[in-house]
């Protein structure tokens, strides 16, 4: 009896096993991905849908209910036409206030910081890709800022530009670069935030680009040497095309990160001085204007989605289908 029961159990246990064995490679891959996709759906898509739903309701400032009645796209219309600016700490978009409008500040921050991070990161990666004595230490030195927690990083730059505390304020003022109170000025504060971001995140770019550089087949350079190519030609015809997919992936990640910037601004400066889109979301939320916060959040997500799509569509041919 016992043996028979055991055999029955092994038979019943083996059927899912057989079913798994019968799957094609693609089906098996999707089977393994299913839990991940479900989890991803719960933690990413549900909040997105819920945020959108909230953004279609009115702000409600009293009572236990957080949201008012359904108002359709009124929040979006008011946000984009500037009518909602009164409820926000800084305007969403106002052409007369480029450096204090959330949309333009976010775009300026993203474009400038990603540009400098890519250029510096590329340079650092090229250096790290060379064989030289002490390369290991150089790598550590370049990567170190990436390991600094954002609050410490923010504090460093906050204090550097505090009059009577930081040593940079007076020399920069004498050089005419900054005023005596850079953190009371939106333009100067934005520059400080960008410098802080570039200081830290160039290392991240360098890491990803370095990985791309190291995957280049060295024999290609030997062929180039035989063909008598100059250093620049080697870079233009071998290094750049082969490393470009890695650079684009790195830029994509950084662009997404930069468009959501919040913590760095809060620690280095303030959301009132350097308002980003995420700043508006957080501040509207903490003023109990949940629908307005959801609207700005959804618009931010849409803008990021748009930028990502441009990257993917525009550079799909460059990339060749391997990375994105």
């Amino acid at each position: 009896m016992a043996t028979e029961t055991g055999r029955d159990r092994s038979l019943s246990l083996s059927s899912p096993g057989r079913w798994i064995e019968g799957l094609s490679d693609t089906q098996f891959a999707y089977l393994l991905l299913t839990p991940c996709l479900i989890l991803f759906g719960v933690i990413a898509f549900w909040p997105l849908v819920r945020t959108f739903q909230m953004s279609l309701q009115a702000d409600l400032l009293y009572g236990a209910e957080r949201l008012g009645p359904f108002v359709g796209f009124e929040n979006y219309v008011e946000l984009l036409t500037g009518e909602r600016n009164a409820a926000l700490p800084r305007p969403f978009f106002d052409p007369s206030q480029i450096f204090t409008s959330a949309l333009t500040v976010t775009i300026i921050f993203t474009v400038v910081s990603v540009f400098f991070e890519t250029v510096l990161g590329f340079g650092q990666a090229l250096i790290l890709n060379q064989e030289f004595r002490g390369r290991r230490w150089a790598r550590v030195a370049i990567i170190l800022p990436w390991a600094v927690p954002i609050v410490i990083q923010g504090m460093i730059f906050f204090l550097l530009f505090q009059p009577t505390i930081g040593f940079l304020v007076e020399p920069l003022q004498q050089l005419g670069v900054f005023s005596s109170t850079p953190q009371a000025n939106s333009v100067e504060s934005l520059v400080i935030v960008i410098v802080a971001d570039v200081w830290k995140t160039s290392a991240f770019m360098a890491l990803i680009i370095l990985a791309g550089l190291q995957s280049i087949d060295r024999s290609l350079y030997d062929v180039a040497d035989v063909a008598g190519a100059s250093k620049f030609e080697r870079f233009r015809t071998i290094t750049l095309p082969l490393v470009l997919p890695s650079v684009l992936v790195a830029m994509l990640f950084r662009t997404i990160g930069a468009m959501r910037v919040f913590g760095l601004i809060e620690t280095v400066s303030s959301c009132s001085t350097v308002p980003s889109l995420s700043c508006l979301v957080v501040q509207a939320f903490s003023s109990s204007r949940y629908a307005s916060a959801a609207t700005v959040a959804f618009v931010t997500a849409a803008i990021i989605g748009l930028v990502v799509s441009v990257y993917i569509v525009k550079f799909a041919d460059v990339e060749g289908g391997g990375g994105f």
Binding site: E21, L61, Y62, A64, A86, A184, E266, S286, S287, S288
Partner: protein
């Protein structure tokens, strides 16, 4: 043969993979559960979201609470929280909106407790402990209690300690410059801004001190709620007309930030910072404050004073405890009420003029989701004991919320702070709470931005105040419209003028 072998080996790999995945998942969930359960507080521990002072002294505070009647088996555990009050508000908002059970108690800034009350996110003590609520409402500083009440007399927390703006100064330096603070009784007879600025300027020059007057003018809540409100109030001005409009009705009250007293106050600060500018206020001496005040909050402005680089410094009582300590300035620290621009009789708006201090301070409120409500109440009750309040004054420099305690000999004998009890009492008596309504978070941001810009010379004071007026009016209108819609829906339709009063909240 070869393909079949290959299939078998792959099948085994898959099975192993799935088994391994299951085992890993179980192990991971087990360890995650372990992590979560490790974080929970003991059954008799009441967690309070507070500040670093409480966190560092929680042992002594708990011992005193036990001494004044808290059950010995209840323990107190403190979460230090972030230093910035605004960030702490956001943190609480996230916790309470997420219906978290912990912490049971919150130390809440009197400046932003009302929005939580209007959201039904705090427990009404008047309902559960009416006798305690009555004692508080009868015996505590009245304007302070109002910042944790609703219109119907509900009390949503235990007032812990009020704070008011006061002027700290270096008595040794002003004496060296030939002034006599004691003979002229600066401690309780406020100076005019004119006299104050002249004294400051002369002392700076006579004693070769780097700066005259430091305060907080960063673009943050502290500027709109406090420093700027003190400056404007002392000139008889106000953001929203008479004092009775402080708490609303939103949308119906006048916006008066462009009135002459407010513009004059702005010009005065501009003169303090830049001296002889285009829009200088003639009656005050200029060039006594560093431009750095535009970036300074409480601590950043206090440090230069504590370092000896400043003659006069506007701050809260905690700074008195630090600067007046024996190893700091000791008895060389003087404290006086905030100076005035016009007298109360000359003030344009009723309730302003004369020495004006902003009223801040903190309350202890109860999390409605806490399963430890009874124990938390016990802690709150113990905190209302006069002995506890005197102890906190002694330990942390927290002013008692009961005026009667200012009369006690014990309060005067407290080292350092005891020397300034008369002045502190005067500042609390002449204090104005901040105008907290549902519209205040947005209004506060705009006020701080425009005042900071005007102080920095980015636009003239009158231009900036005019822009501010337009912004505040837009916020008031936007908030009124929502209120009217909401209340009409909720109560079956009183008139819009009635609904406006709903915004008074803490009123």
């Amino acid at each position: 043969m070869i393909p079949s072998d290959g299939d078998r080996s792959r099948a085994v790999d898959r099975r192993r993979f799935v088994k391994a995945l299951g085992a890993t998942g179980l192990a991971a969930s087990g360890s995650l559960a372990g992590c979560l359960s490790r974080g929970s507080a003991g059954p008799q521990t009441i967690e309070i979201a507070a500040n670093t002072d409480v966190k560092e002294n929680v042992g002594e505070i708990q011992a005193k609470l036990h001494e004044v009647g808290l059950s010995e088996d209840i323990e107190l555990s403190a979460i230090a929280g972030v230093q910035s009050s605004g960030s702490r508000k956001q943190q609480y908002n996230r916790w309470l909106s997420g219906n978290l059970e912990r912490p049971a108690l919150f130390m809440m800034d009197s400046g932003w407790a009302i929005p939580f009350i209007l959201r039904d996110q705090l427990v009404d003590i008047a309902e559960i402990r009416p006798e305690l609520a009555t004692t508080i409402q009868e015996e505590y500083f009245e304007p302070f209690v109002r910042s944790i009440e609703d219109r119907t007399g509900g009390l949503y927390g235990v007032p812990l300690f009020p704070t008011t703006g006061a002027m700290l100064y270096r008595k040794d330096l002003v004496k060296q410059a030939g002034f006599s603070p004691e003979r002229n009784n600066w401690a309780t007879e406020p100076l005019s801004w004119q006299r104050f600025s002249e004294v400051t300027k002369e002392t700076m020059q006579a004693t070769d001190t780097r700066w005259g007057f430091s305060f907080q003018a960063n673009s943050y809540e502290g500027l709109s709620c406090c420093d700027f409100k003190e400056f404007t109030g002392s000139w008889g001005g106000s953001y929203f007309g008479a004092k009775e409009n402080l708490f609303g009705p939103v949308g119906e009250r006048p916006v008066t930030v462009d009135s002459q007293p407010v513009v004059d106050a702005t010009r005065m600060v501009r003169t303090f910072i830049e001296g002889d500018t285009e829009n200088a206020l003639e009656s005050v001496a200029g060039d006594i404050s560093p431009r750095a005040v535009l970036q300074w909050q409480e601590e950043t402005s206090r440090r230069p004073f504590s370092n000896g680089s400043v003659v006069m410094h506007r701050n809260w009582p905690y700074a008195i405890a630090i600067a007046g300590a024996e190893d700091a300035f000791g008895r060389d620290l003087g404290v006086m009420p905030m100076p005035y621009g016009v007298t109360e009789d000359e003030a344009k708006y009723e309730g302003y003029g004369g020495t004006t201090s902003s009223l801040g301070g903190w309350h202890v409120a109860l999390n409605p989701n806490s399963p430890k409500r009874e124990m938390a109440f016990e802690v709150m009750e113990a905190m209302t004991q006069p002995a506890m309040q005197l102890f906190l004054f002694e330990l942390l420099g927290w002013l008692p919320p009961r005026p009667a305690l200012f009369e006690t000999e014990r309060m005067r004998q407290v080292p350092v702070m005891g020397r300034y009890v008369e002045t502190l009492r005067m500042t609390v008596e002449n204090s104005t709470p901040r105008p907290v309504t549902v519209a205040w978070p947005q209004e506060s941001t705009k006020i701080a931005q425009q005042a900071n810009a005007a102080f920095s010379g980015d636009g003239t004071p009158s231009q900036r105040m005019q822009t501010l007026k337009e912004q505040l009016q837009a916020i008031e209108e936007a908030s009124e419209r929502k209120d009217a819609a909401e209340t009409r829906g909720g109560t079956g339709g009183p008139s819009p003028s009635e609904t406006g009063t709903a915004t008074s909240g803490g009123g």
